[in-house]
Amino acid sequence: MQINVLEYFEQGALKHCPSKVAIIGSDKIYTFRELETYAKKFAALILQRKDIINQPIAVFLPKNANTIIADLGILYSGNFYNNLDVKSPSQRLKNIIDNINPAFIITTSQLLEALKKIGFEGDRIILIDELYEVEIPYNNEMILKRLDSVIDTDPVCLINTSGSTGIPKGVVMHHRSVIDFIDWVNNELGWN
């Protein structure tokens, strides 16, 4: 039985077509293999900062390839992601972050100011830029072994929907529900 959404990636694209194009970003194209390498490096980077598991990590990035890398990296680190809307009004953003209380926020240097404005700064910020600037060694086996303790009812991500009280509700999605949905899509739509 599939337990972790990452099995799609590990057993699927990485096994069958690692050098195929995975993502076309605004300024860079990534193959599946490259995507894997960046994501695992990023997981190592997170775990270097703090050895955590099953904790929420927010991603404050505009939609681009780096968002996917960050999400994947968070999953490889055994944690779950919460993609934030960079265009959200400050107060709304603050409400979300206060509610979720993420272990880290992943962002980029251009967006630091926006986070500072809502009082979020210091060592709970990880810049995605670091991924391209410093050498980060990672041990593939160790990363995968660590994921054994994540079970299918553990969260995969948080999605914020509007709440009538003004505080958005963070819906906690687990691995199981995503696998259930994607398996159905694959079957029904005959993906390959």
């Binding site: 039985m1 303790s149 079970i151 009812t153 906690v172 696998i179 259930d180």
Partner: protein
């Protein structure tokens, strides 16, 4: 992803229609035969036009019971196996509480069912529906059945198993399809089972150890032998049976393995086909296990652990060496996709070596107790370590700790912890110390609350002098843990599941 366990059978009957599926004393069914009979039953059950309803299977352990389980599942309902030998009052309680849609049985049990106050029109006698001999095609049957079984979701019930309740009313643990699929896929991988396996079943079908035997058979195409209860009273005959039918895989309660060791029935020449010896349900005394290991070397010995409420098992230990008589056999490590928490009295994770209650999280958790919210809420609770989202754990009531190798060690039941002369004592610890005595075959230690006495019951070839007990036990236990009374019994009472019956012994104390 599978939505119903019946998909295991759909796949296997296509692959191995003519392979032997289930064998009992009287008959042997191929997968195709079993499947087509099950289909006829499902057609009869479908007449009620309902799904997700409880169907009681009132049958002894035989191939027809396996047919019935499959038939119930193909009708989109779930099965409830019943112990025919249970006292009538207990069965009445269960039935009344369950309100089954139908009861599947045989004509010869008509009178029994009448006494249980089951309405005539709810009873299906298998003879009535299996007499016709029309030959359907497997594909046609699968296609027809899928119309119903595709409506089942994986969180729907697959079966209900009753466990004893302290108030006298048995609790019905409701197990989901998902729990079983999760468990069996783990088992196939870890126990390395394929279509060549020949499984010797000991567990009664109303006891959830049978889940492993039945679904390994359905999922892999292996052969399932429903060994009659009588053979377990005569271990010599049991071994002859295992040899005759080339049984390669057994999942027995320790009591049975202990009886064989006690009678010294093994030698390296015996049971050449037996490759996997798996046990669970109670503590396996290491000295008897050593006897097995020495006489049947190069077998896979696996200790499984788990309560009914988390779908059979949640930890496993592949025995990797010989254990001294005073050592505890670990229950080992969490099964894949099961998370084990060990919580101390403050509800915090126990440190290494610290004792705490074993709690389980994940897809294996039962959906709760049938029609009993109060009892469900007592033991299925929010994970105290995590309050941000719905995250249920099952509190087993079993006390364990992790040793220096990270292996989980079972200590005893939370409710078998006693307070004696101001000390907190785990009765299981006294039991393992007594089992270290060479002459003792089985034992059970209980606390006589009224007289404030630790009392030991033991089984051995002959009575053992109290001085001999004490001489040995003082080497392993502090003085305050020594039993005050020792009762010698030729045979300890055994409950219907094949385990030592503590309740009967407890009653003797008062």
């Amino acid at each position: 992803m599978k939505n119903s366990v019946i998909n295991f059978l759909y796949d296997t009957v296509r692959k191995y229609p003519d392979k032997t599926c289930a064998v009992d004393e009287g008959e042997s069914l191929t997968f195709k035969q079993l499947f087509l009979r099950a289909y006829r039953l499902s057609e009869a059950l479908k007449l009620s036009n309902k799904i997700n309803q409880p169907i009681v299977v009132y049958l002894p352990k035989n191939a027809m019971a396996i047919v019935s389980f499959a038939g119930v599942l193909m009708s989109g309902n779930f099965y409830v196996p019943i112990d025919l030998k249970s006292p009538q009052k207990r069965l009445q309680n269960i039935i009344e509480h369950l309100c089954p849609l139908r009861v599947v049985s045989l004509r010869r049990y008509r009178e029994d069912l009448k006494e249980l106050l089951i309405q005539e029109d709810k009873i299906i006698s298998l003879e009535d529906i299996l007499s016709c001999n029309d030959d359907y095609s497997i594909e046609k049957v699968i296609e027809n059945s899928r119309k119903i079984t595709n409506r089942i979701i994986d969180m729907d019930p697959c079966y209900v198993i009753h466990t004893s309740g302290s108030t006298g009313v048995p609790k019905g643990a409701v197990i989901s399809h998902r729990g079983v699929i999760d468990y069996i896929e783990w088992a196939i991988q870890t126990l390395k089972v394929n279509e060549n396996e020949i499984i010797g079943n000991q567990s009664p079908l109303f006891f959830d150890n049978s889940t492993l035997d039945i679904y390994l058979c359905w999922a892999t195409g292996s052969e399932l032998h429903l060994i009659s209860e009588g053979l377990f009273i005569f271990p010599i005959k049991l071994i002859e049976y295992l040899e005759k039918y080339k049984i390669s895989f057994i999942f027995f309660v320790p009591s049975v393995l202990v009886n064989i060791a006690k009678m010294k029935l093994l030698s390296p020449m015996r049971l050449p086909k037996l490759k996997k010896v798996i046990f669970a349900g109670e503590v396996m005394p290491t000295k008897h296990l050593t006897y097995w290991q020495e006489n049947l070397p190069d077998r896979l010995y696996i200790n499984l652990y788990g309560p009914t409420e988390i779908t059979v098992d949640c930890t496993y230990f592949i025995v990797d060496r010989k254990y001294e008589p005073y050592e505890n056999l670990p229950i080992g490590f969490p099964c894949n996709n099961s998370d084990i928490l060990i919580l101390n009295e403050k509800n915090l994770p126990a440190e290494a070596g610290e004792q705490g209650e074993l709690c389980v999280r994940g897809s294996s958790l039962a959906l709760g107790y049938w029609n009993d919210d109060a009892k469900t809420e007592q033991v299925f609770t929010q994970n105290p370590l995590q309050k941000n989202y719905f995250d249920r754990i099952y509190r087993t009531g079993d006390i364990v700790y992790k040793n220096e190798r990270g292996e989980i060690i079972f200590v005893g039941r939370k409710d078998s912890q006693i307070k004696h002369m101001g000390y907190r004592i785990e009765l299981g610890e006294i039991e393992s110390a007594i089992m270290a005595l060479h002459k003792v075959d089985k034992c059970c230690v209980l606390y006589n609350e009224q007289k404030q006495e630790i009392t030991a019951f033991y089984e051995a070839k002959e009575e053992i002098a109290i001085s001999e007990f004490n001489r040995n036990l003082v080497k392993l236990l502090p003085k305050y843990m020594l039993p005050r009374k020792f009762y010698y019994l030729e045979k300890l009472p055994i409950n219907p599941n094949g385990k030592i019956d503590r309740k009967v012994l407890q009653d003797k104390l008062s």
